[in-house]
Amino acid sequence: MIEVKNLHKSFGEQAVLKDISVVFEKGKTNLIIGQSGSGKTVLLKCIVGLHQIDAGDIIYGGDIYFNKLNFKERKNIRKQMGMLFQGSALFDSSTVLENVMYPLQMFTDLSEKDKAKRAIECLERVNITHANDLFPGELSGGMQKRVAIARAISLNPKYLFCDEPNSGLDPRTAILIDNLIAEITREFNMTTIINTHDMNSVMEIGDNIVYIYQGENEWKGSKNEIFSATNDHLNEFVFASNLTKKIKDNMQ
C-alpha cells in the first residue's frame, strides 16, 4: 500500500499539485487519470522520489515515510520498485536480455547463469521469446513495453509504477499490455500505480481510479462508478469521445 497525504508540488511560481491525498491499495491496479498537463506524471514522479515534494507525506507500506528518508534508505525502498516508463527507457546499448538482467547484476549475488535464467523467466512471463539478443531499437513499441515490464519485475518488486504504459500503441496491443500489468499485479500481489489518459485502460483494469484536474484530486472511485460520477470535469474528460458518449447513452 502507498499513501499520499496532503502533497504539494510547485515548479517556481507554478503550483502543479495542490493538496493531493490518496491511498493506492495492494494487489489492485490503481489508476491516476487526467488530461495532459494535469499533473499526473509529476504526481507519479513525486511518489517514486524523482521529484522532491514541497509539502505532505508519501508513505510506503503504512509506516515508511519515503520523503523523509535519506539517499541510502531510499535506495533500499527503490530496490522494491519497478517502473515502466512512457518511452520504455530501455538501455539502447544493451540487448533485451542484458536490459532485464541489469537490476539483477546490480543488486543480487546470483551467478551469471542464474541471472540469465531469472531474466529469461521474466521475459517468458511477458511472452517475449527468441528476442534475447536483439537491441531495443530492433523491437516494436509493444515489445519494448513488454521488455520494460520484464525488467521492472525482475527483482520481484512490491511496487510497480507505469507511466502511460500504452501510449503510442495500437488498441489491441494496448489492451494486451494493460491486461498483462493487471495479471502481474494480482499474481505478485503488488501495489501498482498506472498513469494514463486512455479510457480503454480505465474500463479494462481500473480497480481504483483517481482523477486529477489542474493539480487537484477531484474524484476517486472505480471503473464501475466512473460513468455515474457527477463531477463535471471528470464527465468532460470521460465523455470527450463519441464512443464513450454512446456507451453512456446505452447505459441510460
Binding site: V48, G49, G82, F85, F107
Partner: protein
C-alpha cells in the same frame, strides 16, 4: 547611464549563473565519486569506455599528429632564414613543440570535440529518454554509474594517446624531411636528440590527465542535466565542446606556470 546599469545587472546575472553551474558541477562530482555499488560492474564499464573513448581515438590522434609534426618541421625550416642558426634547431623545435604543447593540449582540444560531444550527447539522450530515471528508480547512483567509468577510462588511457602523439608527431617531421629534403636528415635527427629534457614528458602527461578529467567531467555535466528533447541534447553537446575547450586553455596556462616556471 541606462546602458551602464544594464551592463552591471547583466554581468551580475552572468556571474550568478557561473557560480550556480560551478556549484552544481561540484555537487555532481560528489555524486560521481561516491562509493561504487558493485566494483566488478564498474570495472567492466571502465574497460568498455576505454575501448569506446580511448582506443577508438587512436586513429584520429595518429592522423593529426603525423601531419602536425610534418607541418611544424616544414614551417620552422621555411621561417629560418638566418644562416647563423644551426639547422638541428628545427628538429629540436619540432620535438619540443610536440612534447610541450601539441601532444597534450592540442590533442586535448581535438578530443574535446570528439569525445566531449560523444559523452554529452550519449548521457543527454539517456536523460531525455528517461533511461537515467530508470537507473535511479532501480536504486542505482546514475551519476556514478554513468560518469565514473568514463572519467577513469580517459584519465587512464589519454596519457597513452599523448605518448603515441609525441612519437608519431616526431616521425611526421622525419617523414616531411624525407619527402621534401628541406634539411639534411642528420641535422633533424641530431635536433631530436639534442638537449632532451625528460621532465617535459612528465609535464605533458600530467597536463593530459588534467585535460582528460576536464573533458569528461564537463561534458558529462552538460549531458546529465539536459532537459527537453533532441534539440537540447544537440545544444548540450555544443556547450560541452566549447566549455571544455575554454577550461583546457585556462588550465593549460595554470599548469604551465606551476610546472615550468
Amino acid at each position: 547611464m541606462a546602458i551602464k546599469y544594464t551592463e552591471k545587472i547583466l554581468s551580475r546575472i552572468l556571474l550568478l549563473n557561473f557560480f550556480f553551474h560551478f556549484g552544481k558541477y561540484w555537487l555532481l562530482l560528489s555524486k560521481v565519486f561516491a562509493r561504487p555499488e558493485k566494483r566488478k560492474i564498474y570495472y567492466q564499464q571502465t574497460i568498455r569506455e576505454i575501448e569506446k573513448l580511448g582506443v577508438n581515438s587512436v586513429g584520429i590522434v595518429i592522423i593529426i599528429s603525423i601531419f602536425m609534426g610534418a607541418v611544424i618541421t616544414l614551417q620552422t625550416r621555411y621561417n629560418l632564414e638566418n644562416p647563423l642558426i644551426p639547422l638541428y634547431l628545427i628538429g629540436l623545435t619540432a620535438r619540443d613543440t610536440m612534447l610541450l604543447e601539441f601532444s597534450s593540449t592540442m590533442v586535448g582540444l581535438i578530443l574535446a570535440g570528439k569525445v566531449g560531444s560523444n559523452i554529452a550527447s550519449e548521457i543527454g539522450s539517456m536523460r531525455v529518454s528517461e533511461q537515467i530515471d530508470a537507473l535511479e528508480i532501480m536504486g542505482i547512483n546514475s551519476a556514478s554509474f554513468l560518469i565514473l567509468p568514463k572519467i577513469l577510462a580517459t584519465v587512464i588511457f589519454n596519457p597513452f594517446l599523448t605518448l603515441i602523439s609525441m612519437i608519431i608527431g616526431i616521425l611526421g617531421g622525419w617523414f616531411a624531411v624525407v619527402v621534401t629534403g628541406a634539411l639534411p636528415m642528420a641535422d633533424y635527427i641530431y635536433g631530436i636528440k639534442y638537449a632532451f629534457i625528460p621532465y617535459y614528458v612528465l609535464y605533458a602527461l600530467i597536463k593530459t590527465i588534467v585535460i582528460a578529467f576536464i573533458i569528461t567531467s564537463i561534458s558529462a555535466y552538460q549531458g546529465y542535466y539536459v532537459s527537453g528533447g533532441s534539440l537540447e541534447v544537440g545544444k548540450s553537446s555544443t556547450r560541452a565542446v566549447v566549455y571544455s575547450s575554454i577550461a583546457i586553455l585556462f588550465f593549460n596556462v595554470i599548469i604551465t606556470q606551476l610546472m615550468l616556471s
